[in-house]
């Protein structure tokens, strides 16, 4: 009796063990840490399989399917370095910095290369001390930082550079030519003041229920509205006083009130992606970064976007008396974690992606590389699917570039304050004056620390 009972318990336990053993199947490739006792077959599920003698580099990215250049970059790199394999790990875009931060915590991370999404994320990781300074590698291979046109200076922390940019996107205005044609309005130009822009947007707006056309579209990010304010070069977003933002909030809130653009609150709660908004064909103009160019080209080619296939870009609107072409810039960069298992191989990859070859691949997929030369600008506008009008080509020439968020060890705290105030102003939870007063007070407190 007793035996039978014990046997059944033992069987149950054995089952549990064997089941969990399966559960562990498919650990990391090169490290033996996960377990040498794994049956060989279980790793078959892996997307990347290392051939004999190959080193696998783990690279963290986001939105794998929406980004056109990951695959060609990896393919070209692997062709040049047959002994190296790149494994892309998609950490998702919405929680990217959180997940990346957790992964890099402590000493056990096995990422070799990480993509850094934004400046606050960069400073957080630098402060945590989980990134490897790249200066020695740069000196050893005598990489010419001048080619980055001063971008690298803006991201140097305490004399050390922890990331190398490979993309440097800037904001432009996308417009849907079909909407302009239907309204018989002339296309926007590369030289628009904010008044011109506002008037144009209002001219295109149709508010008949069910057939709405929106003259403008602003994504819910703070950059899309707030940073109009810094383009005259007189103020920066780290100043601590934000009264200069008022006219721009007034402009956008009035548009929202009059149905010229979609309601911020609705966009926020429905989580509507800007690509979704623009591709529905009822948005005339949308300000967005140049990263959207490649998505547009790709999706129009694949036949997914049919209602915005006839599109163009123009330079950002500018304040009176300011040279057109002043716009916001944001960089995407690569870093090597301090604990990366294969640092030298990782540097090879970083150098490749951020260098000229990488830049060409990026340009070929319609993205703006950080290493921008005239040839590369020409490649972008010449690519199949890029708008053929002259204005769009010219829109790629910029005058002044302002980082969306400059490097500062307070940047991630300031970011939270600015985001909240932006949200409150745009949803109508506070008036513009209240929101600005709130920013002044809270950022002041952060800066005073």
């Amino acid at each position: 009796m007793k035996k039978k009972c014990l046997v059944s318990i033992a069987t149950a336990a054995a089952m549990a063990v064997s089941l969990t053993a399966c559960g562990g199947g498919g650990g990391s490739e090169t490290t033996a840490a996960a377990g040498g006792e794994e049956p060989a077959g279980t790793t078959a599920a892996e997307s990347v399989e290392a051939a004999e003698g190959q080193t696998v580099l783990k690279w963290s990215i986001w939105d794998k399917d929406l980004t056109a250049y990951y695959q060609p970059l990896v393919e070209e790199f692997e062709k040049q370095n047959p002994d190296l394999k790149i494994e892309m790990v998609d950490l998702g875009s919405s929680d990217y910095q959180t997940v990346l931060g957790t992964q890099l915590t402590g000493s056990g991370s096995d990422f070799d290369i990480v993509t850094i999404k934004d400046v606050p994320g960069y400073t957080t990781l630098v402060n945590k001390g989980v990134l490897e300074p790249l200066d020695e590698y740069i000196a050893a291979d005598s990489v010419d930082l001048d080619a980055y046109k001063g971008l690298t200076d803006q991201i140097t922390v305490d004399g050390k550079l922890y990331e190398l940019p490979f993309r440097s996107d800037f904001w432009v205005v996308y417009y849907n030519k079909d909407v302009f044609d239907a309204a018989q309005v002339a296309y926007p130009t590369n030289d628009m003041t904010f008044e011109d822009y506002d008037a144009l947007a209002r001219q295109l707006t149709v508010d008949t229920p069910g057939q709405e056309v929106y003259g403008a579209h602003y994504h819910t990010w703070r950059s899309a509205v707030q940073l109009f304010g810094i383009l005259d070069g007189k103020n920066t977003i780290l100043d601590g006083t934000y009264d200069f933002l008022k006219p721009y909030y007034e402009l956008v809130l009035a548009e929202q009130e009059d149905g010229v653009c979609q309601d911020y609150a609705t966009l926020k709660t429905s989580n509507l992606h800007y690509s979704g908004a623009f591709s529905q064909g009822n948005v005339a103009m949308m300000n967005m970064g140049t990263w959207f160019i490649s998505t547009m080209i790709e999706k129009i080619k694949s036949g997914e976007y049919t209602d915005c296939a006839n599109w163009g870009i123009v330079k950002y609107p500018h304040a009176d008396g300011v040279e057109p072409g002043s716009t916001l810039a944001t960089i995407t960069a690569l870093s090597i974690p301090a604990n990366a298992p294969h640092k030298d191989a990782a540097w090879k990859f970083v150098k490749f992606v951020c260098g000229e070859e990488g830049a060409e691949i990026l340009a070929n997929t319609g993205n703006i590389p950080a290493l921008m030369t005239d040839d590369i600008a020409g490649m972008i506008s010449a690519m199949d699917g890029f708008p053929t009008d002259e204005g769009s080509t010219e829109a790629l020439q910029t005058a002044n570039l302002y980082l969306e968020m400059p490097v500062s060890n307070k940047s991630s705290e300031i970011e939270i304050v600015l985001n909240e105030a932006h949200d409150n102003i745009m949803t109508g939870n506070s008036t513009i004056d209240e929101g600005i007063a709130d920013m002044n007070e809270k950022v002041g407190a952060v800066l005073a620390q």
Binding site: M1, C22, G26, A45, S47, G92, Q103
Partner: protein, 278 residues
Amino acid sequence: MKIKNTKTRTLRVILYVVLIALALVMLVPFVWMLSASFKLDKDVFIFPIEWIPKNPRWQNYVDIWSKIPLMTFVLNTAKLTLIVTFLQLLTSSFAAYAFAKLDFKGKDLLFLAYIATIAVPWQVYMVPQFMMMRSMGLADTHLAIIFLQAFSAFGVFMMKQFYEGIPTELCEAARIDGMTEYQIWYRIMLPLSKPSLSTLTIFTFVNTWNDFLGPLIYLTTESKKTLQLGLRMFISQFGSEYGLIMAASVLSLIPVLIVFLSLQKYFVEGVAASGVKG
């Protein structure tokens, strides 16, 4: 007599009206979800709502399988859920028996340790836990999720509440008959606790199936990700494709509903026993 009859009948009618209204409140979001999953994205928000789409778009249910590796996600989630539920049931009922029916040194202290952790939010010990798991080589493995979920304090607590409701005399009698404690657990407690086992099954199943934050932190390789991660990824990447999002959501509900429907007759009894003892 007659008056009373009419009165009861009116009450009955009112009762049904109230119940149907409540059922509607509960069901409307699901019906809306179902109907949206058969629509084109642009038709989803049209008002008044078109409850039964004129041209149901079955394509949505075909497309989601190719847009994201949904099959992999479903299989991963199913595997994790089954293993976790099985382990949870086995170890919880085992431990709960000792807490409910045996007298031993350190019982109160051990139990206190269990109870105290229920009130601590997971976010607090997530980072130390993650670092520990990784140092064991468990980062980005399903094993990590299993360990995370399978030994919860809640299961032990609930099963203990139930076992305490089973008369101790039953165990005493069995002991006199010469049964060992293991036999008592296997031959007396387990058969008697079918209802509460079903309850725990549903709770564990639902929790594991719907868990989001755990897989988000631990699972980075796409081929290991779970359904909820997939759903979230889907929403962030295809934010405007409501039809597809709803189709994916509808699919994610089906397994949970099947489990609930097949166990629900035990379910009410199960909570009865453990709930009342409070």
